[in-house]
Symmetry: C2
């Protein structure tokens, strides 16, 4: 179960940080803290969720304690609903009770939910303390890199947040072994997305190595997460605050978010919804005159990974279209979309007729097997 440790840097000037990917890393948490000069005197708050706590929290605590740190663990319920201001309030209470000071660190041990929530705690507690990401899902290769942290509001997802970069990302592949298979596939959807927007070679590699990835073979997985994080970190380095380039990371997300919203977050996992969305964007590409092979190829690869490529019949086109309207990506009958121009590259179009989108959503129905 061992794989070489890979490391890459998110290049953000004085806010640069390393992403460390490998096996057996959790047991070395304390060493990483010491090596980076995290102060022994300042207490650490470890935030995790109810599914992850029993699996991995103790190992993290033990490693930090052995290195001389004092750690308090706070557990939130597993699931998206923990990304709330109520939970922020509770966690700040926990931080105060644990005596966290301005030199303290908040660790996120979990998937994207824990990462986004703990990150916002770290961003706002005492106006910002150190933050460390320890992702335990495949999807979190995406969420743990780039510094976007947030909680949800009743009326909108991720609307209350900050840009708060971690000090480092410690990604222990061993933790992925306990992931439900559906979460594995959904996470790989974002990995493939990183290939689709930036790196054709890597898409081919994913295609060739699909079975090793689905079997969580550490060497393949380590490489794939490394490449996925690399694309994300290059994009983030060039546009930390999403002024322009960073928007390409949203390939498949316009339709994907609408599917999640209409399905009520639960029908489809995020990675599943964006797989369908990426097929939709690829079909849009054909409308703009790019090769129809992009859509065929995109669909084939997602099918190979056991990901959905059709919209469930329970979700109506009208509802999906109005969710997109609500998402504010419309303007005067035109929509903004990330559209592939080939496998491995995309462009941002703000001139997508909403009629085309309706047509494509209609066409992406189960049972409809020709692209």
């Amino acid at each position: 179960m061992a794989a070489g440790t890979r490391e890459l840097t998110v290049d953000l000037g004085e806010r640069s940080y390393p992403i460390i990917i490998g096996t057996g890393l959790i047991a070395q948490t304390g060493k990483y803290f010491l090596d980076r000069g995290f102060p022994i005197k300042s207490p650490i708050l470890l935030i995790t969720d109810s599914s992850v706590v029993d699996l991995y929290a103790e190992k993290v605590e033990e490693s930090l304690a052995a290195a001389g740190y004092s750690v308090t663990t706070a557990v939130v319920p597993s699931g998206e609903s923990s990304k709330s201001l109520e939970m922020l309030d509770e966690l700040v209470g926990a931080a105060l009770q644990a005596g966290l000071d301005r030199k303290s660190t908040v660790i996120a041990l979990g998937g994207g939910v824990v990462g986004d929530l703990a990150g916002f705690v770290a961003a706002s507690y005492m106006r910002g303390v150190r933050f460390v990401q320890m992702p335990t899902t495949i999807l979190a290769h995406d969420s743990s890199v780039g510094g976007k942290v947030a909680v949800n509001h009743r009326l909108a997802k991720n609307i209350i947040g900050a840009f708060h970069q971690p000090e480092f990302v410690l990604y222990d592949l061993d933790t992925l072994a306990s992931l439900p298979m559906r979460e594995v596939r959904a996470g790989l959807s974002e990995v493939i997305k990183h290939g689709l927007i930036w790196n054709e070679e890597f898409v081919k590699w994913c295609d060739t190595n699909a079975s090793a990835l689905l079997a969580l073979e550490p060497e393949a997985l380590g490489y794939a997460l490394y490449e996925g994080c690399k694309v994300k970190s290059i994009v983030v380095s060039r546009d930390e605050r999403e002024n322009d380039l960073r928007a390409i990371l949203n390939l498949g997300h316009t339709i994907g978010h609408a599917l999640e919203a209409v399905g009520g977050y639960g029908e489809l996992l995020h990675g599943e919804a964006i797989a369908i969305g990426m097929v939709g964007s690829a079909r849009l590409a054909a409308k703009f005159g790019y090769s129809p092979d992009i859509a065929v190829e995109t669909e084939r690869i997602f099918r190979k990974f056991g990901l959905p490529v059709r919209i469930p019949s329970s979700l109506s086109t009208d509802e999906i279209m109005s969710a997109m309207l609500h998402d504010k990506k419309f303007s005067e009958g035109k929509m903004v979309f990330v559209v592939p121009t080939a496998i491995g590259s995309v462009e941002i179009r703000n001139d997508v007729p909403s009629a085309w989108v309706t047509e494509i959503v209609d066409g992406l129905r189960e049972g409809d097997e020709q692209p």
Copy 2:
């Protein structure tokens, strides 16, 4: 009632911004927005409190509307308890309903409570939108400059927040006319503090012009707020994130915060509590061998402004000392204090024996008239 408009710049590289101080400014809000290129298409959220809304909100709305902006006003209850996550939740809801986008602006129209709360809304809505401060209290000359924004937690004040600098501060002296006299005095306490830490000349000027200031004479007030903001902005420019120098702004605040906490926020206004605290710090200076005249002079000037210089008998020394302990400024029987070395300059000491502090708190009792 007219006074020349004064302007100074808070120098923070690409986050630099102007503070504009004068009369009749509210009616020009729209012009300031246009001049600075704030986008007409993006809705504005004006946040104010229940005491200020009827006095000044309409004028701001009208000025912005005349310039072509769409404005929605959100009103929070007057008072410290509005600095809460619940209110953040409500205001984010208001922002969403008003359709605020990433290029929108949040305006704070009010005292420090509205400024801190609205600032945190601006810092966290969509991970940060534009923010404009329109202070309407004297104390807010302090809170509106420097970018510290926050809400309170049940267990601690200002513990959930961000550094989020405004685009500009528009300080209309006319709004101060409606302030209760007690708020005027308390606000002037922070103005004088800025002199005490940085500028002996300005302390003398305040002393000479006490009656003009208390009468809210616009020319004197404009000058005093300009000088107060100047000291704050110089300090903030050199240490935006309170790594070292910015701590000098806490002169009088160690004792002051403890008095507020023990009194239960209400017994003493913030500016009153720190006036007493500044007398305490000046007495501490004598213990360190600095001239005892500093304390005599400090006390005299605060008396002249009608500010309290003695601890109310309802607050016990034990409680005050343990509030300071809770405030984490102790370490091994020693405390951190900002101590004046002369009128107009201070140093930060981390070697203050807590016994000295107890002695000084004991000595600062009503009825005890010798320094």
